[in-house]
Assembly symmetry: C2
Homo-oligomer: 217 residues x 2
């Protein structure tokens, strides 16, 4: 190898660049393997650095790396929910679900390991991070419904639907990624319409909001 | 106290009776407090026995007691699903939900602590027990739908609805047990009808099963 081409281990990175590089390598590993199957040696190898260097940036070892990678993944997921409040309501929801389900597809093993429970790395902290993503999802959906002061029944409907999307994602992974993603996405959008209609039949607030939503028709 | 009335601590119980008594006491405690807030002394006091006696029956201490109490609670929950295959389909579902939601109401704190994740007592074993309850619930629903060989779409619909019932139960506890239980139950039944109809619109098997169900009408 010519001397002017540095190997990854010898590139000079700033503290933040190095930390971010280690985090990216961790996230890729934790996405594709269960936390039990990721070692610090794997992270070091994937980032092209030594194991002591990984420890210098993450003295808490695997648990700290896992929590940092999870926090980073949670930020990515929250960005999936960003969608302009323009156009038909269900088209916006479909685009958000496209991004969310692509994330699930890409981080499949890590997504299952985290959310199915019983993982050794699961703590009150990781639960808080996951709950933060759920809360953000609920807020976004209510925002797109123009629900500034959602009542109990509307809030519960949206929270339960978000839980159903999460469950459907896990079941989709468990079923070997069947049915195709576009079918799953359309089914979840239709489910959303259906469960909101059920609530609207008994809840005037939900009925009024649905009435006022922009549609394609 | 007259000498012929034995106190609980001095009643002679068989091994199985004593074990069952300790388990009942544990289950009551774990239902109403987080696992972190239950000590072996609490269990001993609730059962009217000494702490060493608790250890003699459960040498694994709190974790073993918790897992045994959880297994016992899981059996109770599975019994909630037992419902004769007679009469209108939705009335059967309503009765099962009545029993399930009464269980949630009674075991509120333990139910939340177990299912919200991040609890110190959560292990791969407890996850397996909880998954066993979910699987039993799915089987019962499919059985009542007369679905002997459920396809992917029907199976996914039922699994996601069961997850939605679980999420709704947790959210109901989180919302201070609002709305009233009978309203929550009716809403879940309506949701079931709605999501099955969504699936039936694209899945001939689900459509045919729904067509054939006995109704009140």
């Amino acid at each position: 190898m010519p001397p002017h081409v540095p190997t990854p281990a010898y590139r000079r990175l700033s503290f933040d660049e190095r930390r971010s590089q280690l985090l990216d390598a961790s996230l890729r590993l934790f996405a594709q393997r269960t936390p039990e199957d990721v070692s610090l040696d794997d992270v070091a190898a994937a980032a092209g650095v030594s194991r002591p260097l990984v420890y210098r940036y993450f003295p808490g070892g695997k648990q700290q790396l896992y929590e940092a990678a999870l926090t980073s993944a949670a930020e990515q997921l929250k960005q999936c929910f960003d969608e302009p409040r323009e156009g038909a309501h269900l088209s916006r929801l479909a685009r958000v679900l496209d991004r969310y389900l692509a994330f699930v597809d890409e981080h499949d093993i890590g997504f299952s390991a985290l959310l199915q429970g019983g993982s050794v790395v699961e703590t009150a902290h990781t639960t808080t991070v996951v709950d933060g993503v759920r809360r953000a999802a609920v807020e976004h959906v209510l925002h797109h419904l123009n629900a500034t002061e959602p009542g109990l029944r509307l809030r519960m409907t949206v929270r339960v639907w978000i839980a159903a999307v999460e469950a459907a994602s896990l079941i989709w992974l468990d079923e070997g990624k069947q049915p195709p993603l576009d079918e799953l996405q359309a089914w979840l959008v239709d489910q959303f319409t259906a469960v909101l209609a059920v609530t609207a039949a008994h809840d005037p607030q939900t009925a009024a909001l649905l009435e006022a939503l922009p549609t394609d028709g």
